[in-house]
């Protein structure tokens, strides 16, 4: 540069001279004090704080005030430096911002970008860079032996980086991992000392901070390094992890997807050192499926959560793990493959092959034969152990002691001990040490008799328990099928076809979990025991079939008590809960029972009471089973049912069909939904609410009978709920009666159905409405109460549990059919209809009033009532096949009920009634309704009177 300067020729005068600066400063100070104000404008100079004239920039005025804000000199613009074109042509000179900046401005600019001085070059990067540049420059000047740029690695930093220096001072030695520094406290202390010495002017806090960050930086520098810290004592990383892939130096295929690095490494390590390190499963990584059961390869989005539905139901099939596809697969060393090959063959050393035929033959041992009586189930010593012992030696049969009380006590005690085990006997023996009554326990009076009793009881019980034990463990080991899992979870299997009914756990009944559980506990045993010889009720040989069932019941009771033993560990509250469940289930079931079964059921609890245990629910539950079996045997698949369904107008439009309900009110079945939702309430609540609704409606009806218009609308809103409940409950009862009576009715129903399907549906719909209006306030109060609760409960249960309720569906079918029958009968004469209505609404009323109390009431009371009602219904059902039958039947029924109320008063009020009704109705149905108004009227009045 220095040589260049000689060539320059300077034109014009320099703007300022050195000496002037001082004077200028003075001038500036003076100017600030106002001295210069006297000068003419063109002589005034604006200066900066250093006294220099202020320069605005060429385009904004040049020097302030200089030559009238024009240029910097009298001569005009200061010319560009001239370069002779002879030596070097003037190229297009590139201007940069620095050309226009003063030094102080430049300093300002640079102040914004901090850079470490070469001394504080922590990792030597800057030094390396600098030295590389240096070398490059050198190379430019004098070509070296190696052409081309020098590889980075060859250029070592000239000086030690500050980081290394620090580390060294802290006790780190080259070739050692950094962790050691932290690990050895000795070195650390030393390091701290050194560090303090190194930076004396910094306070301790800062040093510790910086130390931490330093080490963190070091460890975060190379994750791989930090991971292998233990091994990397003094081995450089590139020795540890030799480069085996074909990627370019420093190329990281996982740069932007570090998640997969883990996966790949785990795969590699799994290959290399099989079993040494547990391969990192995808599970732990971000994108891995969170459950082992998901289908391989398909994770779910980050925003979705893993659900049951993500489970891979098609287990079994093992897709090859899907790998991240890399551009280049690392070239595996060939010996790696060989190793894997050989490792496939068992026990063969590398390089050896397995002999084709060896003279060593495996000696095979047959598995030990299992004794016939072996039970694959652990029997717990303790309470139950006593059971098996006494069977060996039967104590002599001894006449009971003369004292009747003692005899009873001994018998009771023996039963109890047989149930609860020997421990109980020991316990009570200790407890009643001094009690004379319990002398028989200690070998006193009646001991022989007690021994004999105990033996008998145990004999009986061991028979039963053996059976249960035999049956139970069967299928649990096999792979679970859907059914098994369902039954484990307490799901009801759907109804089976006929032949399967007796073996299936599905009672098809209306109960969910608890009862089903008890089914699984007891069912198999009960079926087996039917074949068993023990028959406590042999006295009636004529009805063999009935006895079989009764036997089952009996055994069920016995089994339940074994269950009781088995689950002795159950908490008291759990057991109580269980029993409650049983009872509730039994109650709901009972409704569909034949009279005899019920009678037996009421007998059975007595047995248990005699045994000292109160498992009353066992009996009733058994009844449920038999009842269900009956029902099932009378149903065959497929069953066709028909309901009303309303396609939306738009749907019809889209299908290019005329809307069958064009312009009609929403059809009746809509209410079914309401009912469903209602039915999910607890029974009591529901019943109460239903009752309330009906009550309130009745009230309304009575109060507003003079202004019917208002009332009609209200009813429209409220009525459907209890209306359909009433219908359903009644019909379900009817239907079950059908079932109980065998298949005769079914055929008839079919006929009815066929006939009904030809009927006008509009009429049916309107009829339902009218029915709804009328039903709410025609409830006679003196009808027996108990029956009504049953259908309600049953219905609700079946609805709350969809799987089990398929056999309840006939209820609705029955309902539909009846509706249609009704419509047909309407055309003939509508008298039957209202009498039917009476019949229907009565159960609802009953249910409303008595649900709570009846659910608690004992079975026999209920059964009696039911049986009486059932008889009545049976009569009805036998006649239900044709509308004319309906007619006569209903007349019978309604008349008998109504006889005393029949009066001429009806006619008077019928007019009013009719008019009101008419308003609420579609005109199409008004005529039909009209004819039936009379009867409705009359029943209503009757009801009112009864209330009074």
């Amino acid at each position: 540069m220095a040589s260049d300067e000689e060539d320059f020729v300077f034109h014009g005068t320099p703007i300022e001279r050195e000496e002037e600066i001082v004077s200028r400063k003075k001038k500036a100070v003076a100017g600030a004090s106002g001295n210069l104000r006297t000068l003419p404008a063109w002589k005034q100079e604006v200066t900066d704080e250093e006294g220099r004239r202020r320069f605005h920039g060429a385009f904004t005025g040049g020097y302030s005030a200089g030559y009238y804000n024009t240029v910097g000199s009298k001569d005009g613009w200061a010319p560009q430096s001239f370069t002779s074109s002879r030596k070097n042509r003037a190229g297009a000179r590139k201007q940069s911002i620095s050309d226009f900046l003063d030094e102080d401005e430049k300093a300002d600019m640079e102040g914004q970008s901090l850079s470490a001085s070469s001394q504080f070059d922590t990792f030597g990067f800057t030094a390396a860079e600098y030295s590389r540049k240096q070398v490059e420059k050198e190379q430019h000047e004098r070509p070296s032996a190696i052409p081309g740029p020098v590889p980075d690695e060859l250029i070592a930093p000239v000086s030690e980086s500050i980081g290394v220096k620090l580390l060294l001072k802290m006790g780190w030695r080259r070739g050692h991992s950094i962790k050691d520094v932290r690990a050895s406290s000795d070195a650390r202390r030393e390091a701290r000392k050194a560090f303090l010495a190194f930076s004396t002017d910094e306070n301790t806090k800062e040093t510790s901070d910086s130390m931490v960050s330093e080490t963190e930086v070091e460890t975060s520098l190379d994750p791989q390094f930090s991971e292998d810290i233990k091994i990397s004592e003094s081995i450089p990383v590139y020795v540890l992890n030799p480069k085996q892939d074909l990627h370019g130096l420093g190329y990281d295929p996982f740069k932007h997807a570090p998640e997969f690095r883990e996966k790949k490494r785990s795969r590699l390590s799994a290959n290399k050192e099989a079993g040494f390190r547990k391969p990192l499963s995808m599970k732990e990584s971000l994108f891995g499926p969170k459950s082992g059961k998901t289908a391989p390869g398909f994770g779910i989005g980050a925003l979705e959560e893993l659900d049951v539905e993500d489970e891979d139901v098609y287990g079994g099939y093992d897709f090859d793990q899907t790998y991240v596809i890399e551009d280049e697969q690392p070239a595996k060393p060939s010996n790696d493959n060989r190793l894997r090959l050989t490792s496939k063959e068992h026990d063969v050393l590398p390089g050896f092959g397995a002999a084709k035929n060896s003279d060593y033959s495996m000696e095979r041992f047959n598995p030990p034969t299992i004794p016939k009586d072996f039970v694959a189930r652990h029997k717990f010593a303790g309470p139950l152990e006593a059971e098996s012992k006494p069977t060996l030696s039967a104590p002599p049969d001894v006449p009971p002691p003369a004292d009747n009380n003692l005899k009873l006590l001994i018998e009771g005690f023996a039963t109890f001990v047989s149930r609860c085990g020997k421990l109980y006997e020991d316990l009570s023996r200790e407890k009643n040490q001094s009690n004379q009554l319990f002398d028989f326990l200690r070998g006193g009076n009646g001991h022989e008799y007690y021994a004999r009793r105990l033996w008998e009881e145990q004999q009986k019980r061991s028979d039963q328990s053996k059976l249960t034990l035999d049956v139970k463990p069967s299928s649990s080991v096999q792979k679970m099928t859907a059914e098994e899992r369902g039954s484990l979870l307490g799901e009801k299997p759907l109804q089976r076809s006929l032949k399967e009914t007796d073996t299936s756990a599905s009672s098809g009944g209306s109960f969910q979990f608890p009862t089903n559980l008890s089914d699984t506990f007891t069912k198999s045993a009960s079926t087996q025991e039917a074949a068993d010889a023990v028959k406590p009720f042999k006295d009636d040989p004529a009805k063999q079939e009935r006895f079989e069932q009764f036997l089952k019941e009996k055994y069920k009771g016995g089994l339940r008590s074994t269950d009781f033993n088995r689950v002795n560990s159950m908490s008291e509250s759990a057991r109580a809960q269980e029993r409650l469940d049983f009872e509730a289930a039994a109650e709901a079931i009972e409704k569909g029972k034949a009279y005899k079964e019920v009678r037996r059921a009421t007998e059975r609890p007595l047995d248990f009471l005699a045994g000292g245990l109160q498992f009353t629910s066992g009996g009733t539950e058994q009844i449920k089973d038999t009842g269900v079996v009956d029902m099932k045997s009378s149903t065959t698949y497929p069953k066709r049912e028909e309901f009303q369904w309303r396609p939306s107008p738009l749907l019809c439009k889209r299908f290019d069909l005329p809307d069958p309900f064009m312009g009609k009110l929403p059809p009746a079945p809509r209410a079914r939904n309401k009912m469903d939702s209602l039915i999910f309430l607890p029974d009591t609540v529901k019943a109460a609410s239903a009752h309330q609704v009906s009550e309130s409606q009745e009230h309304k009806k009575e109060t507003s009978i003079d202004e019917p218009e208002v009332e009609v609308e209200v009813e429209n809103v409220e009525r459907p709920v209890d209306l359909y409940k009433a219908i359903f409950s009644d019909d379900s009862e009817d239907d079950e009666d059908h079932v109980m009576n065998g298949k005769i009715q079914e055929g008839q129903e079919k006929k009815n159905e066929a006939a009904a399907s030809t009927l006008n549906r509009l009429i049916a719909g309107d009829f339902l409405e009218s029915l709804g209006k009328e039903l709410g306030f025609e409830v006679p109060s003196d009808v027996p109460y108990q029956e009504g609760t049953k259908p309600m409960e049953e219905e609700s249960k079946s609805r709350s549990k969809p799987e089990g309720s398929s056999d309840k569906r006939p209820d609705r079918a029955g309902f539909k059919q009846k509706v249609e029958e009704k419509t047909s009968s309407l055309t003939l004469g509508s008298e039957e209809e209202k009498s039917r209505k009476q019949k229907e609404k009565s159960p609802r009323k009953r249910s409303g009033g008595n649900d709570l109390s009846s659910s608690e009431s004992s079975g026999d009371e209920r059964s009696k009532k039911r049986s009486s009602k059932k008889d009545r219904y049976r009569n009805n059902d036998s006649e239900s096949d044709s509308s004319s039958d309906y007619h006569s039947r209903d007349k019978q029924g309604s008349r008998s009920r109504r006889k005393r109320r029949e009066s001429s008063r009806e006619k008077r009020s019928s007019h009013k009634k009719h008019s009101k009704h008419h308003r609420s109705k579609k005109s199409s149905s008004s005529k039909l309704v009209y004819s039936s108004d009379e009867d409705r009227k009359e029943s209503k009045r009757e009801k009112r009177r009864r209330r009074d």
Binding site: E304, E309, L494, Y637, P638, Q644, P660, R761, P802, R809
Partner: protein, 300 residues
Amino acid sequence: MSATAELPTKEAHVLKGHEGAVLAARFNGDGNYALTCGKDRTIRLWNPHRGILIKTYKSHGREVRDVHVTSDNAKFCSCGGDRQVYYWDVSTGRVIRKFRGHDGEVNAVKFNDSSSVVVSAGFDRSLRVWDCRSHSVEPVQIIDTFLDTVMSVVLTKTEIIGGSVDGTVRTFDMRIGREMSDNLGQPVNCISISNDGNCVLAGCLDSTLRLLDRTTGELLQVYRGHISKSFKTDCCLTNSDAHVIGGSEDGLVFFWDLVDAKVVSKFRAHDLVVTSVSYHPKEDCMLTSSVDGTIRVWKK
């Protein structure tokens, strides 16, 4: 065996591309193309007669369980584990509309004849009818009388037929506004309608196919021999209604004689569960798909 000779039992092509189980394979209206869908969340369009993959449709968030193409081949709909019904444009591969509303996985979708509505069958025990014409995303109708998962849906010109795990095949007749429920007593896995429209074939989970008369609800015939207990396997009828085809969980495909319920032919089609069988509308050609990730084209 002239009967077996006319059955498509010879493998013509293996369509590979799906990663993971293929859940459904369907011919289009004229049988020239096929759509398949599977666990890998894709729907693929194939030319099954040449064995070529034409297009892959990706948008579903979870497995795709069913697809159906309109009769004019312009649109198709799909459904699956993400609880939505997708309405696609075939050529552009864009999703035209997504119908949300099902509370659970959607098991099956079908267009009606005029392709104006899509009917979907869901785990939420409902059938939902979606309108393709308007821009409404609300279902036109929700049919929720089923008591359990609806597995399969079939449409006729006037009826919607759904098969449910509650054991019923329910026919909803729009002309008369009636619902006919045929209770089979066994969970219904798949239903398909005979080509004459008079019968419904219902595959039940007790390893039985049942043929029902649609007008009376009578059980006409029962077909047994295959395994169908825990997976959704399809069944269908040949286009002449002469044979009944059913996939089995052990990878076999069964052909029964429609009338006497004899197993006319059975052969191993796949290694694993046969999820779907679809019969060509005109020719003797059949598609089977399987959990093993392949779709096979069978010709006679």
